[in-house]
């Protein structure tokens, strides 16, 4: 089999290359030729094609994402910003926390278990790469309708995959989301968040510095995983007879990753690496070019040294393989012995595959023949940039206000049956069937986890310093108005953090959209990023990183625009956290914030097939006051719960169901007030002795407060409607087991 080398490429400039099959456009191919001054070798073509893909190059989103930098608020907390594997924030006492969300949507549709499992594996490696010990995961998910047959294939597999991988790594799952909507049929969203902690001095970067330093590949052996696409190249260019059965799915090995985590942490602890990068999408192509590009530039790699699981892999395939559970480190020669010893202790395969040079090129040889000779920046950081056409989509012109077909229950019977209907609907029903498949106790630092508003993790057992994290998205509001939708999602996430008693500190995101080649989708995307950048500036919160997932669509139908926002907060003493459930009788209930009568985008309207015509508009000043009030009043609350999906009806039901202690509340216009989802509202449960102080505190913060009722009894009573908890619980808890059990 002929190896396409740099000298052959020079001698045969006119050889036809399958660049189109690899997803490169004519002008992109021409650009590669002009960068190199010749045609690329097949290995170079492989590298450019994958690194210049939408997934790796962000070519459609880059022009928009740069707002996160331009509008960035000044933040002393930000230690590492966008551009590294994950951002890092200072949470005090010498601790640094890193967190990020990534998507693994399409693979999870193809092979739900493995797709979701390797999604968790990938984001955990990003966090580990920063030098941190991963300490928790979260999983915001979206599926097609709950009763659709394909959802029954996808959802159980995804849940088992997330649990199977995360549980085996020993990472508590502390929260997430599950939302069903038709548009996600065929396009489930599997986003995974990981958070990690380290000391400031332990932060690691993905940079290859220091001439003579060694490039070490360690972890799993390289197989043919995830290179379905490049097999085109291997077969067409060289050997048509060769079997091109290359799997496009990756299979995860959580045990290998668990061992890799412990091995890396021990290596970090002894300060044995100069730079480190995980291998994820685009495998070695990505890791070597990014390390070299971010460092001094020069690197030599001897590709035949890469340990293979499948000896039939061609050099192009080795470069592209997305085999999981691998890392690439830059190690000083005098430290390599100790590095290797630690790998041996953990039974982790480690191989020196090259070295950092004082040149400017990334040179890759295969058995002595030069097959790649490129400036690494052109591969990793200077890919194509598109300013895709943007147009406000047509659907926005035909949006209709919520009609009278959406009932407004008023009589006691109507209210009771409406609450039971709402709380048993898949989007609001109890998610224990899912969350009980996740370990939330491992590591022994979980202070709050699902179904609480935010996950809270203790960082320090002596000082009780902790962090809180919440992920949120409201895709229906984003559909109605992506600018406001993004702001509202972020505001909701902050509120969830503040309700638990933590101060919002930093933001990550995962922007899930349809095709960027559809101007309407691109408009949704642009508006979303603008909204996010604006609110982050206004709230003084830096965006520390994130991920963009495009092409989530079937035919011409895109998913609802789904910007998933993750907010990290810090809590000085986790013992002071506020839970969401009513834990005692005789408490007073207050509701904070104003409501209006816009049911657009609400769960209640959705149950009747309507979405309405206008999203709420974020009242930023109110939101800020509310957060400040929550933080100031933390010690006065017995429980606090944020109003979101399902409005007051859902919030009070959830508070009651948490510990089975009832409540009696009074509302004026039940038909609206129970179901409207006006943002910026919270219910607090307060000991009578503290009630006056809470009211005063709300007033000093300019937050509207009204009495809602009190706790006690074995029913949820709304005006004259009595809903026994047993009945409410049955409705709430039976939905998932019935659907998926």
């Amino acid at each position: 089999m002929a190896l396409d080398t740099v000298s052959i490429a020079q001698e045969t400039p006119d050889t036809a290359q399958p660049y189109k099959e690899l997803g490169l456009k004519d002008d992109e191919y021409l650009r590669i030729k002009s960068i190199l001054g010749r045609r690329p070798t097949s290995s170079e073509l492989a590298m450019y094609s994958v690194m210049w893909s939408e997934h790796c190059s962000y070519k459609s989103s880059k022009v928009h994402l740069k707002q996160f930098g331009e509008k960035a608020p000044h933040s002393d907390a930000l230690l590492v910003g966008i551009g590294e594997n994950a951002g890092v924030v200072d949470v005090g006492q010498g601790y640094a926390v890193t967190f990020k969300i990534e998507s693994h949507n399409h693979p999870s549709f193809i092979e739900p278990y493995q797709g979701a499992a390797t999604g968790v594996g990938g984001i955990v490696r990003d966090i580990l790469t920063m030098g941190a010990r991963p300490i928790a995961v979260m999983d915001p998910l979206r599926f097609g309708l709950a009763d659709a047959p394909d959802t029954h294939r996808v959802l159980p597999g995804v849940i088992a995959g997330i649990g199977g991988y995360g549980n085996c790594l020993g990472l508590p799952n502390i929260g997430g989301e599950i939302v069903f909507d038709e548009t996600y049929a065929g396009n489930p969203l599997v986003n995974a968040l990981c958070v990690g902690v380290m000391r400031h001095e332990d932060i690691k970067l993905a940079k290859a510095h220091g001439t003579g330093n060694l490039v070490v590949l360690f972890g799993a052996k390289t197989g043919g995983d995830g290179i379905g696409g490049v097999s085109v190249l291997a077969s067409e260019t060289f050997n048509a007879a060769k079997p091109t059965k290359r799997p496009s799915v990756q299979v995860g090995d959580p045990f290998a990753e668990k061992v890799l985590i412990e091995c890396c942490l021990e290596i970090f602890h002894e300060d044995l690496v100069v730079g480190i990068q995980d291998l994820g999408g685009a495998g070695l192509s990505c890791a070597t070019s990014e390390l070299a590009s971010a460092g001094s530039g020069g690197m030599n790699i001897q590709l035949e040294k890469v340990p293979l699981r499948d000896p039939s892999l061609s050099p192009e395939e080795i470069l592209m393989s997305e085999s999981q559970e691998r890392m690439c480190a830059i190690v000083e020669p005098e430290k390599i012995k100790r590095f290797m010893a630690i790998c041996k202790k953990w039974d982790v395969t480690a191989t020196v595959i090259g070295e950092v040079t004082d040149g400017l090129q990334l040179n890759i040889t295969f058995n002595g023949q030069l097959i790649v000779d490129v400036p690494p920046r052109t591969v990793a950081h200077e890919g194509p940039v598109y300013n895709r056409p943007i147009a406000e989509p047509e659907y926005r012109k035909s949006l209709q206000p919520i009609s009278s077909a959406v009932p407004r229950p008023t009589s006691p019977e109507e209210i009771k049956s409406a609450i039971l209907k709402l709380m048993s609907s898949p989007n609001l029903a109890d998610k224990s069937w899912v969350t009980s498949q996740y370990d939330k106790y491992v590591q022994g630092n979980t202070v709050l986890a699902q179904p609480e508003d935010a996950g809270v993790i203790r960082l320090d057992e002596v000082t009780n310093l902790g962090v809180a994290i919440s992920t949120d998205a409201n895709a229906r509001w984003s559909y109605l108005d992506p600018y406001e939708g993004a702001k509202l999602a972020l505001a909701e996430s902050c509120r969830n953090i503040a309700v638990a008693g933590a101060k919002p500190l930093a933001v990550t995101n995962c922007l899930n959209f349809g095709s960027p080649e559809d101007p309407g989708v691109m408009w949704q995307f642009a508006e979303t990023v603008r909204g996010l950048a604006d609110i982050c500036l206004e709230l003084g919160l830096p965006v520390t990183g994130g991920n963009v997932s495009f092409y989530n669509q079937t035919g011409s139908v895109a998913i609802l625009p789904t910007p998933v926002i993750g907010v990290l907060g810090v809590i000085q003493d986790v013992r002071e956290r506020t839970p969401m459930g009513i834990s005692r009788e005789g408490l007073e209930l207050f509701i904070l914030g104003k409501f209006d009568d816009n049911l657009s985008g609400s769960e209640w309207a959705h149950l009747f097939g309507e979405i309405g015509d206008s999203s709420p508009v974020l009242d930023l000043a109110q939101e800020k006051s509310l957060i400040n009030f929550l933080l100031a009043g933390q010690s006065l609350f017995d429980a606090a719960h944020d109003l979101s999906n399902g409005g007051l009806a859902a919030a009070i039901s959830e508070m009651v169901l948490r510990h089975g202690i009832g409540a009696k509340i009074t509302v004026e216009s039940a038909g609206i007030q129970l179901f409207v989802e006006t943002p910026g509202r919270v219910i607090v449960a307060v000991n009578t002795a503290n009630a006056e102080a809470v009211v005063e505190l709300a007033q000093t913060h300019g937050v509207e407060i009204s009495s809602l009722g009190s706790t006690g009894g074995d029913a949820l009573c709304i005006n004259d409607s009595v809903i026994p908890i047993l009945e409410l619980r049955a409705a709430f808890e039976e939905t998932f087991p019935k659907l998926f059990g």
């Binding site: 059965k245 299979v251 699981r309 499948d310 085999s323 999981q324 039974d347």
Partner: protein
């Protein structure tokens, strides 16, 4: 009464962490005979009488949709008496 055996194995190009774990454990226990280990599933399905052609077609369909995932696995059907 027939017994249908369905053997499901991961495709050779797919990573098999389970087989790998066994393959690594064997030499640690002093067993040196193996050069590679793959682990798969084995279903024993009992049925009344001998399978008709229509039933054989059904068995194939079940093996392909429920018992294996063709994206990563292959299956083999055997009939025993």
């Amino acid at each position: 009464m027939a017994k249908i055996i369905v053997e499901v194995m991961l495709k050779p190009e797919i990573l098999d962490p389970q087989g790998q774990a066994v393959g690594n454990a064997l030499p640690r226990l002093g067993f040196t005979f193996a050069t590679s280990v793959r682990q798969g599933k084995r279903f024993e399905i009992e049925m009344v009488g001998q399978p008709t052609d229509a039933q054989m077609a059904d068995i194939h369909k079940a093996a392909e949709t429920l018992l294996s995932n063709p994206v990563i696995e292959t299956y083999l059907i055997k009939v025993e008496n």
